[in-house]
């Protein structure tokens, strides 16, 4: 047996960067964000069969008109269509970018009309700051999996500059080149809609996953002032339910836009991340969502969260990069677990 005191002395040599405390205190010296409304977690209904509800039945929900271009950005071939992955190193040889390969496919317009269009809500919030105007355009939210996509624009008559676009279309507002960043209150990743953007008006869309108890809000976060400069709410409570499936006794929830996997309930090894997720259709085709061994990741965003006891089980949620026709699925494969779906369709 090794000497425990030696281990303690060894790891006591490790300490946070000297800049850590300075950076954190800089971020907290300004007043705290306030006015956030906290509320209980909505309970996702456990369903054993397909849910089909109408968007029009929900009070306060306004359908976004003509969403076809937007849907092509969300789920289609806009931007980088296909890549075997992006691996980059800096001048010293350290790995700086490690994006697995992906494949975007054309939008099936019929499927989009059937499964998506009626569930995109028109949004009206705006935030103005230092010559910029952020305008919410539309939101697509699935309450079953807690996944969604928010579409918005950023305008400035003098030009919108300073943001950086990675090879897969995702956007980063680098504090060294732009003084602020749009910031969603839920976990998210931003992408650029190049097809519609101009020098003075840029279209962004954020894939997000419900995280915590807060409301969904878009804000502008000032890097310089270390505080929010305005907030616009997105009322997902008014969003109507799109179709969804609950599988494997509730351990897998899936909708046309995302999947939520409760790993412990499913029997997946909690000690390592999920490495392989494939959705198989009745016609024999398949959607490889994630294949660690093949360096493929066809999700637009993924988040692991929870683990604070039975009421908050650990779960991993993915937002798809294409529309999934869940009524045509026959199997979901997650690592070594195969889950039959829509068994009346037969096996592939």
């Amino acid at each position: 047996m090794f000497d425990q005191n030696v281990l303690k002395e060894t790891f006591s040599a490790l300490s946070a960067s000297e800049h850590t405390l300075t950076e954190v205190l800089k971020m907290t010296t300004q007043r705290k964000r306030h006015g956030r409304v906290w509320r209980a977690l909505p309970v996702a209904a456990a369903i054993a069969v397909l849910l089909v509800t109408t968007a029009f039945a929900v009070v306060g929900f306004t359908i976004y008109e003509n969403p076809q271009a937007m849907i092509r950005a969300f789920f289609g071939e806009n931007g980088a269509v296909q890549s075997e992955g992006i691996v980059e190193h800096d001048e010293t040889g350290n790995l700086t970018t490690n994006i697995p390969g992906w494949e975007r496919v054309p939008v099936d317009e019929t499927l989009a009309d059937e499964l998506i269009s009626n569930y995109i809500s028109a949004e009206t919030g705006t935030i103005s700051w230092e010559g910029y105007t952020l305008t919410l355009e539309a939101n697509l939210y699935d309450s079953l999996t807690g996944t969604g996509i928010l579409y918005y624009t950023l305008e400035n008559p003098d030009g919108v500059t300073g943001y950086q676009v990675w090879g897969n279309g995702s956007v980063w507002c680098n504090p060294q080149t732009i003084s602020f960043t749009p910031a969603l209150s839920w976990a998210s990743e931003s992408y650029l809609d190049e097809a519609l953007s101009t020098d003075t008006k840029v279209y962004f869309y954020d894939y997000y996953i419900k995280h915590g108890d807060s409301d969904l809000e878009m804000s502008i976060w000032s890097y310089a002032d270390v505080e929010y400069k305005g907030t616009a709410k997105i009322n997902v409570a008014n969003t109507s339910n799109m179709v969804g499936l609950t599988c494997a006794d509730g351990s897998v929830l899936i909708s046309p836009i995302g999947i939520c996997i409760h790993e412990e309930a499913l029997g997946v090894d909690l000690d390592r991340d999920i490495r392989h997720v494939v959705l198989r259709y009745g016609d024999g085709s398949e959607y490889v969502l994630l294949d660690d061994a093949g360096f493929v990741d066809n999700s637009m965003y993924a988040l692991g969260q929870g683990g604070d006891g039975p009421s908050d089980p650990y779960r991993t949620t993915y937002v798809f990069n294409r529309i999934v026709d869940i009524s045509s699925l026959v199997e979901i494969v997650i690592d070594d677990v195969t889950i039959p779906v829509n068994e009346d369709l037969g096996q592939p």
């Binding site: 047996m1 090794f2 000497d3 425990q4 030696v6 281990l7 303690k8 002395e9 060894t10 790891f11 040599a13 490790l14 300490s15 946070a16 960067s17 800049h19 850590t20 405390l21 950076e23 954190v24 205190l25 971020m27 907290t28 010296t29 705290k32 964000r33 906290w38 350290n94 790995l95 700086t96 970018t97 490690n98 994006i99 697995p100 976990a187 412990e264 909690l270 000690d271 390592r272 991340d273 990741d297 993924a302 988040l303 692991g304 969260q305 929870g306 683990g307 604070d308 006891g309 650990y314 991993t316």
Partner: protein, 160 residues
Amino acid sequence: MVTDEQFTQYAKQYMDTVFRVAFSYMKSRTDADDITQMVLIKLYRTDKEFESDAHRKHWLIRVTINECKKALLSPWRHAESMDDYASTLTFLSPEHSELFYAVMDLPKKYRVAVFLYYYEDYSTDEISQLLGIKAATVRTHLKRGREQLKLTLSEGNGYV
């Protein structure tokens, strides 16, 4: 909600703890620093009432582990050589240095369990809660981690 003065005290008190947990998980100084900042900001913003320092530390480690899990899902994480960071550390003896490399060479699930058990003095039940896995699994990880450490160190100079 803590005052700024209280938060500064807590940040100083716990930032190295958070960093060590994050480093033992991520094996990257840059990632561990980023996660340390995020976790401390979460401490600043939380409305949670802590019953004791131990409760606060437990919460911080729990949040740190969750942030590490999230970071591992991100394609943007840093993948830097641990040797670069290790070369900046001052160990008391070659024995300490060898033990550091041996622990960090363990698979993540063994490494984190060993760190929490032997460095942070958490029980297997407490580690079970922190990692969200069964206590029996923690014990297995500790056993296998010890076995691997014994093997690695005995191949070196017999510190076990």
